[in-house]
Subunit: 232 residues, 2 copies
C-alpha cells in the first residue's frame, strides 16, 4: 500500500510576499500539490497570489471553493467534496499544501479541513504565519500592546453582546472581518469611547489597500471582507 | 550634515530560525549595526541567537540591557543610555536594527525604544513577526479561534480583576509571561472552568522547550519568562 502523503497547512502572511517565512517557502517548494482556497467560484485565490513566486512550474495547483461557515456543526457538501479530493491526492502518496492568508490556526477555513483530515488519520504539519493585525500595527507605527495591557480579538460577526463585553474588558482591540456590519461596530466603539483611536485597514499589504482613520465618516459603506480595525 | 540612518525594528519570530520572514532576513543582512536586547547583563540575547545565521560577519553587534518596565511612565536611565547609543549610530549615517522575539508591536521592549526614537524624528521601519502564541497553536495542532470566537490576550502580570474579566468574556485565551504568578493563573483558569483545556508552552521552538498540559500538577513551580498558556 502506498504511504499516505503529508498534508501541510501553510500561513502565507497578510499580503506582502516578503512576509512569508523561510519554513513556508521551503514547504511550498517541496510539496506535490498546492490547494488554493477561494470563497467564491468567480474570485481568484488571494493566498495563492501571495505565494505564487515560490511555486515550482511543475507543481499542480487545485482551486477549492469553501463557503463561509459559522462553526463546525455546519457540515456542507463543499467541505466533504474538498476533503475527498485532498484525500485522493494523499492516498496516491503525494503531499499537498493548503495555503491560508495570515495564520492557519487563527480564523482560517483551514481549521475546518484540518479537523476533517485529522479525523481520517492524516499526518498534518501546520506552519504559522504573520497575522494581518500585527502587520497593520507595524505598518501604521501603532504599538498594539505593552506591559500589562490586555488585547481582545473580536470577529465583527460575533453576537453584539459578546462584542460589547470583550471591548469593555480590554485595553486594545482587534476587530476582524469588519464588512457588512460596519455601522454596528462603529456604534459599539463609540459607546466604549474607543472610536477616536480606531483605524481600519482593508486588504492591508495588497495592491488595493485602504486605510481609514475617521471611521464615523464612513458609516453606510460596504467594505471588503479582509478589513480589520485596530484600536488602542 | 550626514543623513540620519534608518532604525529597523525586526520581529524574528518565536524561536525556530526558519520562522523568520524574507523581509526580516533581508533587513538583517542590509543594516550596519544590530542591536541585541537582553533582560539581564549575564544572559545572552535570545533574539540574536534566532537571527544569528543571517548576520554578515562584518555587521557590528551591540548588546543592550533593558530592564522590564510596566508602562511608559517608568523612565529608566538604561533606556535613556540605550537611546543615546542608538542615536549616535544613526547620526553617523549608519542604519541599525533592533531584534525582537515574536512581533515588535506586541508586548516588546522595542515599543519603548520605538517611541523614544520617534520623538527624536528618527525614520523607523518595523517588520512584523510570527508571535509565539500562533506558533504554539500550529505546533500543538490546536486551532485557536474559528468563526465568531473571541480571543483574549492577557499578560499574566495584569491585575487579577482584569484577568478574570478578560477570561470571562472570551472563547479562547492566551496568557503571556506566565512565570512568577503561575499559581494565581491556574486558580483563575480553574474558577473560569478553563483549566482542563489549557496547555502551557515554555520557550517554544527553542532547544529547551517544555510543554505542560496538566497545569494543576505543576503548582508551586517557577517557570521561564518565555512561558505562554493557550486555552480553548
Amino acid at each position: 500500500m502506498t504511504k499516505l502523503g503529508t498534508f501541510y497547512g501553510i500561513g502565507v502572511g497578510p499580503g506582502d510576499p516578503e512576509l512569508l517565512t523561510v519554513k513556508a517557502i521551503n514547504a511550498i517548494k517541496a510539496v506535490d500539490v498546492i490547494i488554493a482556497p477561494k470563497t467564491e467560484k468567480k474570485e481568484g485565490s488571494v493566498a495563492l497570489s501571495i505565494a505564487r513566486s515560490h511555486i515550482r512550474p511543475s507543481t499542480e495547483i487545485i482551486y477549492q471553493v469553501f463557503p463561509m461557515v459559522k462553526d463546525f456543526s455546519e457540515r456542507t457538501e463543499e467541505f466533504e467534496d474538498n476533503k475527498a479530493e485532498i484525500l485522493s491526492i494523499l492516498r496516491s502518496g503525494r503531499s499537498a499544501a493548503f495555503l491560508t492568508i495570515g495564520d492557519p490556526m487563527f480564523y482560517s477555513t483551514y481549521i475546518y479541513i484540518f479537523r476533517l483530515l485529522k479525523a481520517e488519520g492524516v499526518e498534518v504539519v501546520t506552519i504559522p504565519g504573520v497575522p494581518a493585525f500585527l502587520a497593520i500595527a507595524s505598518q501604521l507605527g501603532r504599538p498594539l500592546a505593552f506591559g500589562n495591557e490586555i488585547v481582545s480579538i473580536i470577529p465583527a460577526t460575533a453576537p453584539r453582546g459578546s462584542i460589547e463585553a470583550a471591548l469593555g474588558s480590554c485595553d486594545a482591540a482587534v476587530l476582524m472581518k469588519v464588512y457588512k456590519n460596519f455601522d454596528e461596530i462603529v456604534d459599539a466603539l463609540e459607546r466604549q469611547g474607543k472610536l477616536d483611536e480606531a483605524v481600519l485597514v482593508s486588504r492591508g499589504g495588497l495592491p488595493d489597500e485602504k486605510i481609514i482613520d475617521d471611521l464615523a465618516a464612513h458609516r453606510g459603506e460596504r467594505l471588503n471582507y479582509l478589513s480589520t480595525i485596530i484600536t488602542k
